[in-house]
Subunit: 303 residues, 2 copies
């Protein structure tokens, strides 16, 4: 008889990080200002903006939410970039719901991009560039949702915190290879030493662990779902589709760490009978990591 | 009785530009090298690569086509960026066919981006920044397909070449607002003085003419297809869908300039009875403008 999985509530993990951020914000002495741009009056982006407000209140950051029309967003982002009184910029997508959103995302000054999604930060990640200056005073920003997942995996005991390669020897499976979560996550895990099989509709890829000071490598692979899952210590899902066959207890290793960041159910309920840890959602940790990035960017600016 | 439209063959227009490019390439004295990255062995991207080869042969540019696997493209683009012997980089999309292609597009050094599609050049366009230095020795690069269309509109007599605002007073309609053609095109036309109604599946927008040294503005509009077409001096289509109702002679002004860059039929055959000029395709001009950009980027580097 196995014991049921420990279920981790991301709110609890976020709480500890927020305490640390609150202390840091207080120590800075000047008010940190985060500007948000919101186009929709309701729906997921408006909800995320409300979560941001609560998190900012919680840690003592000034949150300035600006309701804009979609065609005003470009000029407003450029103005916020240029305003020294603004320390972070957060655009609530979708704005256009087209490729124009990517153009907008690239407009956000990397020095104020607390989500870490602009190609400047993506390039740092994929080349495993962790410091921006030789003295190590300026640290690269990591995209907030994959970073939130990494911290939740720490909390789940999947990594050896503080080790040079905290995920060395770990085998992971990630279902999702989007540019905003799945690909950067697989990259971060491989940079930390894990071997990651990444599944998406355009095939499977193997993210091989980084060696010495280099970055991880990626190759196409023919590994199938069944054999990847059977070996996985860590399983992460983010498939927003009802067509995805739920990951079932029979498919996984006893004691595996299972985490879902999907808006839809990706794990069968029976998973908790076999998994070691189950993390059912990520939400509160994402906004917390965005605020952690805000503090880091402020420090980089003063480095 | 109206006379049938003059039909413009883009090959003929391209011929004149290529002569000029050939002269400039010869005058440079060192060989200009364009590196292309191709993943597919056949299909539209392989065909485009073949067109590039012929155009390079035609103007005396060295074309180095490299067949790569999709997961090699990133490292290979970075190597070409760093190689002083490479003057232009052209990636034949799709590589991944996902948002990862946007990441790749942003990796191409702006100084070698002859397609002019990276967000650095897009930002120059949307802010109507035409010179990169106060002396005006370094000129901004324009994306090659919209630039090709602008030159074909010149050839069609739609603009007053050499005037400060060559399209002042012109009313235009563009069906397509993609980030690679329709939006930059509407922007270029408005920067040149035209009033452009831009239609796409997410609504209609009005690109209002630039005033003095500024950039054009954009606003949402309720103008419908019928009234926009009835007033249009220039009509450009790029709708890759059979569901698009063909633009018919009854809808347009006598003598209008009609141009299609679509892979599908967008104008009814009867259009030639009423249009002043019909440009049925753009293809050969696109690669010609990419080579023109190559020369311009080489000059910028020596500026």
């Amino acid at each position: 008889m196995s014991t049921p999985a420990r279920v981790i509530d991301p709110t609890v993990v976020a709480h500890a990080f927020r305490e640390e951020i609150r202390r840091e914000v207080r120590a800075i002495g000047e008010p940190l200002v985060l500007v948000g741009f919101l186009v929709a009056d309701h729906g997921p982006s408006a909800t995320y903006a409300e979560y941001t407000r609560r998190a900012c209140d919680d840690v003592g950051v000034r949150f300035d939410l600006r309701h804009v029309k979609r065609l005003e967003a470009e000029a407003d982002v450029l103005a916020a970039n240029a305003d020294p009184g603004v320390h972070g910029v957060l655009v609530y997508y979708p704005v256009f719901g087209t490729q124009q959103d990517v153009y907008l995302r690239e407009l956000v000054d990397a020095g104020k991009d607390i989500e870490g999604l602009s190609s400047f930060w993506a390039r740092c990640l994929y080349t495993n560039t962790r410091l921006l200056d030789p003295l190590g005073k300026k640290k690269a920003i990591l995209p907030c949702t994959p970073l939130a997942i990494m911290k939740l995996l720490d909390a789940a005991g999947a990594s050896r915190e503080g080790a040079p390669r905290p995920l060395a020897g770990v085998r992971a499976v990630v279902f999702n290879r989007s540019e905003v979560v799945g690909r950067p996550l697989a990259s971060m895990m491989a940079n930390d030493g894990a071997e990651v099989v990444s599944f998406d509709i355009d095939g499977a890829q193997l993210f091989a662990p980084a060696k010495e000071d280099g970055a991880h490598t990626v190759e196409e692979t023919t590994i199938d779902r069944a054999s990847a899952l059977a070996k996985a210590d860590v399983i992460v899902t983010g498939v927003p589709s009802r067509a995805f066959p739920l990951v079932r207890a029979e498919e996984i290793r006893e004691g595996a760490v299972c985490l879902s960041f999907s808006t839809m159910k990706n794990f069968d309920d029976g998973i908790v009978e076999k998994a070691g840890v189950f993390v059912p959602r990520v939400g509160p940790m994402t906004v917390t990591m965005a605020l952690r990035n805000l503090v880091r960017l402020w420090r980089n600016g003063r480095g």
